[in-house]
Every structure is written in structure tokens, then in C-alpha cells.
Symmetry: C2
Subunit: 517 residues, 2 copies
């Protein structure tokens, strides 16, 4: 494939075919420039099989906006679309539609609100709200879902790993098992959600973040193949990187060869006035080997060196390692707390693929159409009325209880402000038997969650940088109740509708079921 073809595949035609055929339909019905309103939300939290996420982390918005700013229909795209034929052999797209989309196929009519990256977000609430000319807002569905769903998924997995790793450093190592160029988005999302650094050099540099790494088995193998030894390889590495000496000790045998050789090299470094950084364990029983490594390093006078663990780590494996170290370390005279504090977790495959739950079920649903200056709500019942989206323009609020912890997110009609209510009746989005009454004097704060991002295609204000996203994530996670944060059967965080929005939705569902049922 030529580079120009990759450009096409990453440009505005990075969308599903049916968006284009629907756009043409809207064009021919003269609906294409009518304003439409779409909500992007996910239906359920990632379920990893043995455990579930009780919250997600917003991610992907900046890259989506970058893509939107550059994506537009070019001559190459039109030339390709012109070649497509229908079943009857005739061109699928009319010349007048192609002319229109060549001139207007860009996202400069789009207005967007969104929950900023790094924030805690929940199922069933709008994370992104798109308003704009119907044809282009429709075309945006696939790329928006693609970019936001994946980054939210990975940021959320990183947050799971962050929870179980407590304050220890987490490194993202997943490129080699990551999904093609999607690995860049995955590494970025991992940093937002909880990884401290990534080994992905390009993304690190592009984001102004230093990458991290150690060395691989091949380095030791090279020396051995050329008649040298593991010790020779370690020495060469220590000579070149005397202040960054972190050695992978399992190429031959961890306890008999790798760690003793590392300690010899560390002693040589120390004599030259350098502080060795540590070792990496990449195979075997990581908890047991970490204890033995700690014992050997302590005995040699290197209690401050790091022990990096890698090899199929995820939140469950790390939990297991922590538990095993707590139980087993004292038997070998190793202080488990000290050992746990020197650990670094290198997490690869299972983070960048969100192992156990490889996709977020985010959707993008029409919730209103401009009908000659009046907004008409849109509804979809399907065979599952409880999946009907919440219609129309809405606000989204986060309510904090008297302890400062988030207790519910509430969707309201556009003209409602819970700050002005004495009490708030919270309805479950679909189950009419579930509701809850909150008095406003039980609340410490009411916070609007959706912020203006684009107005007619133009960026409103500054986007947060990666450090700000990470700080926001830490602050938001801190304000969750522990039950929502736990791994096994987390509490279901309430995402509710105000009484007026609930009634509006029910009336609308009733009218559709009545007229077409």
C-alpha cells in the first residue's frame, strides 16, 4: 500500500460505510444540514470475568479533536467514493452529493460538550454530547466511538492496576502485544488512567513525557553468543549507564546466575561512586523470586534498589503477588512492607488489551433533531425499552455527600439546576421501582460535569495537559466511596434522572409504543 493510501485510511473515511450512505440519504431528503444532537455514553462498566470496574476514566478526547480538526473530504476521497457501485452496477453516490461533501465534508459545524479526560465517569451518562449538521454529526459516529471507547477502556484498566499497586510505580510495556498503531492510543490512555510511564518511545516523546525501559534478554544473549557471559553483558551495561543500571536477571537462571552477577556489578558501581537502580524479574514465581532477590540484595548492602516485576501482570496478578509477599516474606527474614515499597510493576499485554474485557460498549445515539427551529426529542425503543437513551438536551451533575464523597451523578433537563432544589428525587434510568430522595442539605457540593469543548468546530478554552488529567483522575478517585473502587462486586454508583427528565422520557416512550406498537 502507498503512504497516500494510509493517509486516506486515517482520514475522514476512517468511518463505517453506512455513515456515508445515510449522509447521502439525508442530503437527498434535504435533512443533511438540520441540527442533530447525539449522546455518547457507555452502557456498562468493563466486566473482567472475575471482577468488574465500578467506575471508568474519561480518555481520548484530545486525540479525537485533533483528528476532527484535520479530517476533511479531499479530492482523493471523492475520487475513491466515485468508484463505488451499487448492486445494479450504477454509482452508489450521486455527483451532487459528492460535490456537496467535497465542499462541506469537515467538522467545522460541530459543537461538543464532554467530560474532560482523566475524570471518573459512569455508565449511562453522556460522556460526550455532539450537536451539528446531521450528515457530519452522523459521519462522526464511528471515529468518535472508536477513539473514545478504546482510550476509556485502557484508562479504566490502568486505574484498576493503579488501585491494586497502591503508590508503587507502574510502567506500561504493552506495545509488542498491542493492536497495531492503536498501541499509541493505548499507551496514552494508560498514562491518563494510572501508569506512571510507558516504554513506548514515540508517544512519550510526542506527549513530552520521558519513556522508561530496562534491557531485554537479547542483550545478554548477544554477549554469550560472542563467547562472553551474562556478567560481561551486565558490566558493559553498567559502564555505559552507571546511574541508570537496572539489570534483567532471568536470561539463564535468576537465583544462581542473574542476581549474583547483578550484585557483583552493583558492588563495582558502588566502588566507583554510583548508585545502582535495581533488577528486573520477568519469569517464574515473581513473588517468591522477589523475596529471594530482596534478601540477596539486602545482604549485599543494596536495600534501596528497585525490583521491577514483569510477565503477564494485571490487577489480579499484582494482588496475588502482594498477598504472597505479605505472607511469605517474613519466613525468609524479609520485611514485606519494605519489599512492597521497592517493587515496580511492568504491565504489558493485559493492560493494553484490557484483558478480560476487550471492548467498551460505548454508543452514540440520536437524542434530538432540530425541526424548523424547535428541538424534537428522538427515541429508540427496539426490543429492549430499558435500553432507550435519555432524550433531548440535558445537564449532568455530580452530587457529593457531606463527607465530600461522590454519591450520585444526575441527569436533568436543560432548564433544571439541582443547586436550586431543596430536595432531589433521583430515578433509576429505566426501573420505575428504584428511586431515592436526597435533601440538598445532605450535600456538600453539586458539580456540573460536561464542559464546552467545541463551538461550531472551534476549540473553547484550553485542553488539560497530561499532568492535569492525571491529577484530576487522582482527585476524582479519592472522592469515590471505597465500595465503588473495590475490584470484586463494586457498589453500583447511582446515575439517576431527575423527576422531570424521568417523566419526559416515560411520556415519550409511551407515545412511541402507542403509535407504532
Amino acid at each position: 500500500m502507498k503512504q497516500s493510501e494510509y493517509a486516506i485510511a486515517q482520514g475522514i473515511l476512517f468511518t463505517d460505510m453506512y455513515q456515508l450512505t445515510m449522509a447521502q440519504l439525508y442530503y437527498h431528503m434535504n435533512l443533511h444540514e438540520k441540527e442533530a444532537l447525539f449522546d455518547h455514553f457507555f452502557r456498562s462498566y468493563p466486566d473482567y470475568g472475575h471482577h468488574q470496574a465500578g467506575y471508568c476514566i474519561s480518555a481520548g478526547l484530545e486525540w479525537l479533536l485533533d483528528w476532527m480538526r484535520h479530517a476533511h473530504v479531499r479530492d482523493d476521497d471523492v475520487a475513491y467514493l466515485r468508484t463505488l457501485k451499487g448492486q445494479g452496477g450504477k454509482p452508489l453516490f450521486s455527483e451532487d452529493f459528492l460535490g456537496w461533501i467535497r465542499a462541506n465534508g469537515a467538522f467545522d459545524g460541530i459543537t461538543m460538550r464532554a467530560i474532560p479526560e482523566g475524570r471518573v465517569i459512569h455508565a449511562q451518562e453522556p460522556v460526550t454530547v455532539v450537536q451539528g449538521p446531521l450528515a457530519m454529526a452522523q459521519l462522526l459516529e464511528s471515529p468518535l466511538l472508536n477513539q473514545l471507547n478504546y482510550q476509556i477502556l485502557i484508562a479504566t484498566k490502568a486505574a484498576q492496576i493503579r488501585e491494586v499497586s497502591r503508590g508503587q510505580m507502574v510502567l506500561e510495556f504493552g506495545m509488542r502485544r498491542g493492536p497495531g498503531m492503536g498501541a499509541n492510543a493505548g499507551a496514552r490512555a494508560a498514562l491518563i488512567g494510572g501508569a506512571d510511564f510507558t516504554s513506548n518511545t514515540g508517544v512519550s516523546l510526542a506527549m513530552g513525557y520521558p519513556p522508561r525501559g530496562t534491557h531485554g534478554h537479547s542483550m545478554v544473549q548477544v554477549f554469550m553468543a560472542l563467547g562472553g557471559s551474562e556478567l560481561d553483558a551486565f558490566r558493559a551495561y553498567a559502564d555505559l549507564y552507571p546511574d541508570d543500571c537496572l539489570l534483567l536477571v532471568d536470561t539463564i537462571n535468576t537465583l544462581d546466575s542473574g542476581i549474583p552477577n547483578a550484585i557483583r556489578v552493583f558492588e563495582e558501581l558502588r566502588r566507583k561512586g554510583h548508585a545502582p537502580v535495581g533488577i528486573r524479574l520477568d519469569s517464574g514465581d515473581l513473588a517468591y523470586l522477589a523475596i529471594q532477590a530482596a534478601r540477596m540484595l539486602d545482604d549485599a548492602g543494596f536495600p534501596g534498589t528497585r525490583i521491577v516485576l514483569s510477565n503477564q501482570l494485571d490487577e489480579l496478578n499484582i494482588w496475588q503477588i502482594v498477598t504472597q509477599i505479605q505472607e511469605e516474606a517474613p519466613r525468609y527474614g524479609v520485611d514485606p512492607d519494605h519489599l512492597l515499597k521497592r517493587l515496580v510493576y511492568g504491565v504489558g499485554t493485559r493492560l493494553i488489551t484490557s484483558a478480560g474485557s476487550g471492548a467498551l460498549d460505548g454508543v452514540y445515539k440520536l437524542v434530538a433533531m432540530d425541526n424548523g427551529g424547535v428541538w424534537a426529542p428522538a427515541i429508540k425503543i427496539s426490543d429492549t425499552p430499558d435500553k432507550a437513551p435519555n432524550p433531548g438536551h440535558k445537564h449532568l451533575w455530580r452530587l457529593y455527600d457531606r463527607f465530600g464523597k461522590a454519591t450520585a451523578d444526575v441527569l436533568s433537563l436543560e432548564d433544571e439546576d439541582p443547586c436550586e432544589m431543596a430536595e432531589i428525587l433521583l430515578h433509576h434510568p429505566s426501573d420505575h421501582l428504584k428511586f431515592r430522595l436526597l435533601r440538598c442539605d445532605e450535600l456538600s457540593e453539586i458539580e456540573p460535569l460536561l464542559v464546552d469543548v467545541l463551538r461550531q468546530g472551534r476549540l473553547v478554552g484550553e485542553l488539560p495537559d497530561i499532568e492535569a488529567m492525571r491529577a484530576k483522575r487522582r482527585a476524582d478517585v479519592d472522592r469515590l466511596h471505597p465500595g465503588v473502587r473495590r475490584m470484586m462486586n463494586p457498589h453500583i454508583y447511582h446515575v439517576s434522572l431527575t423527576d422531570r427528565l424521568w417523566k419526559y422520557k416515560q411520556t415519550l416512550i409511551g407515545s412511541v409504543l402507542g403509535s407504532d406498537g
Copy 2:
């Protein structure tokens, strides 16, 4: 992020940081331009939990080669690398190394052999063999694994879905849940492995393949929000696409509204001389609804229309649907065979994420180093000697039995040719108790699998186009024994070592264990 930063993130720095620090080490040891030999292979077939793949499909090579042709170290990359500091605050990369990599940081010294895309491949055999200057062959590890692992994974999942879908059309619909821009690689791999078309417009057009699609719920919702009906939406669609009319019938109620409205529109189309294409079902009990849809369409005189099924489909769901239709259709007077033949499977999330097994465990291992004109084998024992790679330059052969079915793939030393052997002793790669003797007169064909792809960075011959890859995949799958193709506990296909290679490997392992153990 600026577009130039995306370019950096997709360029030669799309690699793990430690490849660069190792490359600098090789540079300072004057090893960087020594020839090295790496094998890329995967250790095990995808295990989807309830079932396993018994074979994989090669995919990703052409895109990797495209990437390699364009990736090289540019001033921007060097400027970024120069900013990186070690723990001591000094620059991590020396100016002489940066100067060398600015001048030499490209893949024009790489020689590569590979199993072509579309072919059946197996665990433990080299899929790609890379020879070249150590520093650049090392740098290639991460991007090679990234691109090949993911495309093999998705092509293999597509092959699973292909098996269970028999001859029916399979459409790839996964972009919206796909991993960022990796969705393009996933769509391509799906086409190689067994999907007939993808909805991903950009990739389809870039590959010269027509995309496919239907329409979404939003189209019906738009009409309803503006005071119209599902029927109005269907009519508008049929007017614009009279020969491509495929209607999504579950926006309101499939049986009471969607299908009756579709039939009315189909009748109108028929009166105008057009043949309607069919309907799509996207929710509910798809097997039951397909039976009812078939009955209603048959009764209305449209027995030739397609029924497209979508919604979380994968190989198990499709198997379940086929089984349920076989059992349940006769009860409603519907011929199950006729119904199954009109089905089209739209497969999204679970294909593009390889649900159940989200990563292929492909690795890239040093197997030999040039030591002053003589190739020295490389070995890695680690704590698991049975994972030791097979050392040195090798050939790979596929042996076909007298029925023309593939019976084993065999790795041999470079100077061995099984065609010249009267009998072949096949060793299990690590278990010395497992071997098998094949007389060559029991074989109908012996085929070399690795072909020359790059010689010193230059493409050797033409790469197959997508149709050739698909044809190769069909032919290779046809030549597998049914036991290897089945979903549940597939037979383990033999990937074996010749007697000489086996003995060479054992000697080498023994020498390492002896000297360092």
C-alpha cells in the same frame, strides 16, 4: 498534540525505549553493525476460554514492510532523544551515537524471510526471520511484534468465524469498538482471515476492496423525530437505493413494526422492477427472529432476500444460531437449510478484539550472531528450558500425507533437505520422549514455507494482493485435517525438529547449563 507529533509517534520511534538504550550499548561496544539473526514465532495458539484455535493465519507483513520502508531516524527524532536524561541528570544518549543513528537509523540493511500472508501457520515455528545489523534488527523487535502479532490474532479469529459460518457471507463491522487506528489493521486482517467485506471505508478503499454496510437506527430515529415514521424512513431509503435496499428492522419492534414495514417497501420496490436485498436484525433472539423473518418474507414472496444478523456475534454465537435454526425452523414451516443459506453475519466487537484471547504471544528471539564471519548460535534458557528458542539458521517445511493433507511442519538445519531423506525422524521441540518417524513414501508433498521477502532492505519479488492471500488461506485450510480445524480441543498439529536440529539444540542447552548453571 500537533500532527508532526503523531508522525513521530508512528515513525521509527514507534518502538520500546529499551531497544534504543540497547542499540546505544551495541554501538559503544562496536557490535552495532555485526549481523544478527532473530526468529519471530508465537508460542501458543489463541485460547478463547471455551475453545481454542488449532492453527493461525499469517497476516500483517505488507504493512510492516511499508512501515519499515518509510521509518527512519529524522532530525526531529534525534532532537527529542537528545532531551532525554538519565537518573544522574546527564543526557542518556551520547552525541556520537545520535550522529550514527541519524545517518544509519533505517532498515535498509535488513534481510527477511517470512511465511506469506494468508497462509496457515503454527505455534513454535518461525513466521518471520530477520537478519541484519544488530542495532537496527534490535530496534525492529517492538514494531514487528506489534504489527504481526495483532494482524495474525485477528486473521485467526476471522478464520474461526469463517469455519463456523460455512459458505455464508461475513462482514467486519468492528471499527466502533476497535482499538483506535489499530482498527484499520484489524479490518485488513479480518479480510485476510475470512471476512468477505468490511464496513471500514478507508481501509476498503485503500485496499481496492468495496466496503459494505446497511443503515443505522439513527436514520429511522431522524424521521420519527421529525414527525415521520419507520415506514417513511424505509421508503426514503428504498427510493435512493432501489437496488441496494437492506433495511434495519429493530428500531421499534422487529416483528410488529420493522419486518411488516420492510415488506411493504419491498412490495413497492418489486412493483417498480427492483429486487430488494434484505433486512438486518440487530437485537433480541437472533435465531428466533431470523426464523420469523424468513417466514414473513417467504409468505410475502421474497424468499431470495438476505437476512443480516449482527450484535455481539462470534464463532460460538453463530454456531448457536445455526444449531437453533436447524432445530427450531421446521416447527414454523421454515426450511432451515434455505434459511441458513440466506444469512449474512455482521461481526464487530468480538472479531476486532479477538474476544476471549486478546493478544498473540508472539516473540522475537536472537538465534545467532555473526562472530567474525562465523555464525554463532544464541540460546536463552531462563527458568524454563522448554521455552528455549531453536538456535541458528533454519529451514521450515510442510509435509503433506498421502491424502494431500498437511501432517507436520518441520524445522531443519540450513543444510538439510527432507526431500532427500528416505525417512524423517520428527522430534517434539522440547519433550525428548515425543518423536515420530515418517517415511518419505508416505508423503505426497514437501513444501518449503519461508520465502525471501527482503534482501538488504530491498523487496524480493511481488507481495500477493488481498485476493491471492484469501485464496491461499482457503487452500491451506482445506489441506488441514478436520481435527485441527475443529473449535473444541483441536488436534495439536505437529511442529517438529529434524534429528540433527534437535541434537544441535540439546548440545547447546547443555553447554549453557554446564557453564553457567
